[in-house]
Amino acid sequence: MATFIGTWIAAGLTLMILSFLYKDNPFFRFAEHLYVGIANAFVVWLVWATIVLPDFIGRVFINIAPDPDVTWSPDFWFLVPGILGLIMLTRMIPAIEWMSRWALAFVVGWGAGFMIGPVLNSYLLAQVYASFPWVNMQPYIGAPPGEYVPALVNAIILFICVVTVLIYFFFSYEHKGVIGGGAKIGIWVLMVAFGASFGSTVMARVSLFVGRARFLVQDAEPSGHAFSILLTLGILIVIIAAIVGRRQPPTKESESAE
C-alpha cells in the first residue's frame, strides 16, 4: 500500500512539473518548492552525515564508530579544513567578514593550481597523441584493404578536423587568408560535431521521456492500467492542446517597444 501511495505521489508530482509546459501555475509552483526544499534538506543531511560527522568531528573530537579492534586517536590535521570551512561562516558577521576570503582564496588557488597538471595532460598531450594517424592506425596494420583503407581515411579526416578547429580558436590573428580558410573549415567541423551530439542527446532525452511515460502508464497502477492510461492520456491531451492554443511569446522587437 505504501509503495502504491508513493508511486502515485511521484506520478502526481511528475504531472505537476509537466504542467509547466502550459504556463506557470500553482501546481508547478508547489512541486517546484517541494522539490527545492527536499533537495536542500537532503544535501544538508548528506554533507553532515558523509563529510562533517565522519571526516571532521569523527576524526578530531570524538570516536563516532567505536571498534574494539581499532585504537582511535584524534587526527588534528583535519582541523585545517574544518577551520577553513568554519571561517566561511564569518560572512554572516560583517565585522570579520574579510576572513572568509582566506577560505575562498584557498579553494580558488588550490583548484586552479591543481588543475594545471590534469588539464595539460588530458586536454592537450593525450589529445595531440591520439590525433597522430600512426597511433590511430596501429590496430589496422596488416589488416585487409577493406578495413585498412577506411581506417586510414578516417585517421586523415580526424587529423584535418583537429588542425582546422585549432586554427578557428586563434584569437590574436585575423581570420584572413590561410588562417581564415582553416577557421572556416574548423567552424564547419564544429557544427557537424555539434549536430551529431545534438541528435544523439535528443535520442537519449526521448528515451528518458519514454521511461517516465512508462512509469506513469504501468507503475502507477500495477493491477489493470486502464485508469492510469486514461488519466495520463487525458492530461497529455490537455497539455498539448494548451501548448497549441497558447499565444505566441512576444517577440523581442515588440518587447523592446514596450
Binding site: 592537450l124 542527446t201 511569446p249
Partner: protein, 482 residues
C-alpha cells in the same frame, strides 16, 4: 633361558616393525608432519599444457620506477608458446629456500596478450626492442594489508571464543612480512594447476622523489609559463589584436535592453564547483557584466548552484559595484544559493524566469543536461540570451536556444576581449602561440605517420629502421605518460 627371551623380543620387534610399516596411520604421519599448505595446493599431476609450455626468457625483478617505494615489477620476454586458457601468475616465499605459495591477496593472473611494456610507458623507456616484453607489478603493501586482514579475522574469532568461555588458545599475533625477505617465482597456471619457472626473483623497492613519467607535463607547463610571462610583459607595452567575438559585442546591448525595460538580468555560472576553469572564467566575466550593470543602474541576479561559487560571485559583484562608485546599489541578496541538486535548481530558475521575465539571460560556465531546459524557458520568455561553455555536449543546445554562444575557449578569451587588460591579453596571445606549436607538432607527426605507414608496407616489424624508431619516439613524447 635368556636366548628364549631374546627370541621372543626379536619376534615382537619384527611384528611391530611389520605392522608399523604397513599401517596407514604410521605411513601417513611423516607426510603430515612435513607437508605445508603450499605443497598440498597444486594438484599432483601437472597438466601437459603446462609441461609443454616453453618458459619465457629474461625473467627479471626490479624496483618499480617512478613510485613511492612500495612496489616491484617482474618483466619477461614473451614465450613463443601460446596455448589458450594459460595465464601468468606469481608465487612467493619468505626466504630464498622456503616453499613457494600463492600470493596472500587477490591477484588477477595475466593473459599471454596482456600487460605489454609498450602499453605502460610510465614505467619503461620506449624502445621497439621491448615490444615483446610483459610485466607484472607487485604491490608489497598488499602483503601487509593481507596480514592485517587475517589478523583481524583471527582476533575476532579469538574474542568470540573468550566471550563464550571456551578455550581460545594463544592470543593471535599479526604476521609481519619482511619486504627484504620476499622472493618470487613467475609461473603459468590453468585450471588451478601451476608450473613455476626459475630463476628465483628478488628486488628491493626504492622510493623515488621525482616521477619522471610526468616530465613531459612539467616541461610543457614550464615552457608555456615562460611564454605567458613574456607576452604579458609585452602586452604592457603595446596593444594586441584580438579578433571579434560576436557574443560579447551583444553583452552591452543586452544590459542596455534590460535597463530600458526595467527588468533584471539573470547570470548563471554553471553547475561546476569553483575549482574548474570554466567556472573561474564565468566569475571573471561576471565582474565585467556587473560593472556595466552598476553603470547602467540595472539589476543583476545570480542564482547559484554551489555555495562556494555563490560566495565568490558575491565578492566579484560587490567589487564591481565599488569600482564603479555604486556601493549603495549593491544588494548581496541578489546573489543567492538555490540548491545543490541539478533538476530542482533548474525547476527553481525556470520558475523565476517565468515569473520575473528577465530581459537578458547569461549562461556562462559548465553545464550538464539542464542546459536545454534553461535555454528553452529563457527563450520562451523573450529574453536575449548569451551562453558560453566548454561543455562540448551542451553547446548544441545553447546554439539552438540562445542568441549568441561562446564556443569553448571563446569563454576564456572573453574576459580579455572585454577588459583589454594586459595580463589577460598576454595570456590569450601566449595560448595562441601554444596552439601554433601544437599545430607544428601535429604536422610533423602527420608526416612521420605517413612515412611510417609507407615503411610498414616494406618492413612490418621495423619500419624505416632506427629513423622510424625516432619518429615513433617523437610521437610518444605526447603520450599521457612517457
Amino acid at each position: 633361558m635368556v636366548g628364549e627371551r631374546l627370541r621372543k623380543h626379536f619376534y615382537a620387534a619384527v611384528f611391530f616393525a611389520a605392522y608399523a610399516l604397513t599401517s596407514p596411520v604410521f605411513a601417513a604421519q611423516p607426510d603430515v608432519a612435513v607437508a605445508s599448505p603450499a605443497d598440498r595446493e597444486p594438484p599432483p599431476i601437472t597438466p601437459p599444457v603446462l609441461l609443454e609450455f616453453e618458459p619465457p626468457a629474461e625473467i627479471e625483478a626490479r624496483d618499480l620506477p617512478n613510485d613511492d617505494g612500495t612496489s616491484i615489477v617482474i618483466t619477461w620476454r614473451c614465450s613463443p608458446s601460446a596455448p589458450e586458457d594459460v595465464r601468468y601468475t606469481v608465487h612467493f616465499s619468505e626466504g630464498a629456500s622456503a616453499p613457494y605459495e600463492p600470493l596472500p591477496f587477490d591477484f588477477r593472473s595475466i593473459g599471454l596478450d596482456e600487460n605489454f611494456i609498450s602499453d605502460r610507458l610510465q614505467y619503461f623507456p620506449y624502445s621497439r626492442s621491448l615490444r615483446n616484453y610483459q610485466f607484472i607489478i607487485i604491490d608489497l603493501t598488499a602483503f601487509d594489508a593481507a596480514a592485517e586482514g587475517a589478523y583481524k579475522q583471527e582476533l575476532k574469532s579469538y574474542n568470540k571464543l573468550l566471550d563464550e568461555g571456551k578455550a581460545a588458545g594463544p592470543e593471535p599475533v599479526m604476521h609481519e612480512y619482511d619486504w627484504d625477505e620476499l622472493y618470487f617465482k613467475l609461473g603459468v597456471t590453468t585450471d588451478g594447476a601451476v608450473r613455476l619457472f626459475d630463476p628465483v626473483l628478488h628486488a628491493k623497492p626504492v622510493t623515488q622523489w621525482f616521477d619522471w613519467s610526468k616530465f613531459n607535463n612539467m616541461a610543457m607547463a614550464a615552457i608555456f609559463l615562460v611564454v605567458i610571462l613574456f607576452f604579458i610583459e609585452t602586452a604592457r607595452r603595446r596593444d594586441f589584436y584580438i579578433r571579434r567575438i560576436a557574443g560579447l559585442d551583444a553583452v552591452d546591448e543586452a544590459i542596455g535592453r534590460a535597463t530600458e525595460m526595467g527588468r533584471p538580468i539573470f547570470y548563471l555560472c554553471g553547475l561546476d564547483p569553483m575549482t574548474t576553469v570554466s567556472t573561474i572564467a564565468a566569475t571573471n566575466l561576471l565582474g565585467h557584466v556587473a560593472r556595466h550593470v552598476a553603470n547602467y543602474e540595472s539589476q543583476i541576479k545570480v542564482p547559484c548552484f554551489d555555495p562556494i561559487v555563490m560566495s565568490v560571485c558575491q565578492e566579484t559583484v560587490r567589487e564591481a559595484y565599488y569600482e564603479e562608485g555604486r556601493p549603495d546599489a549593491y544588494n548581496s541578496d541578489n546573489i543567492f544559493f538555490i540548491t545543490n541538486d541539478q533538476f530542482s535548481y533548474v525547476a527553481a530558475v525556470n520558475g523565476m524566469m517565468v515569473r520575473e521575465r528577465p530581459a537578458a539571460n547569461f549562461f556562462f560556465g559548465f553545464y550538464y543536461a539542464e542546459s536545454l531546459l534553461l535555454g528553452e524557458v529563457g527563450q520562451s520568455t523573450g529574453a536575449i540570451q548569451i551562453a558560453g561553455t566548454d561543455s562540448n555536449v551542451q553547446i548544441p543546445f545553447f546554439i539552438t536556444t540562445c542568441d549568441y554562444v561562446l564556443i569553448g575557449e571563446e569563454l576564456y578569451a572573453a574576459s580579455a576581449y572585454i577588459s583589454r587588460e594586459p595580463k589577460l591579453l598576454g595570456s590569450i596571445k601566449a595560448s595562441d602561440m601554444a596552439k601554433a606549436v601544437i599545430i607544428i607538432a601535429l604536422l610533423l607527426g602527420f608526416l612521420f605517420s605517413i612515412a611510417l605507414l609507407v615503411g610498414v608496407l616494406y618492413d612490418p616489424v621495423n619500419p624505416l629502421g632506427a629513423l622510424g624508431e625516432k619518429m615513433e619516439y617523437f610521437m610518444q613524447l605526447f603520450n599521457e605518460h612517457i
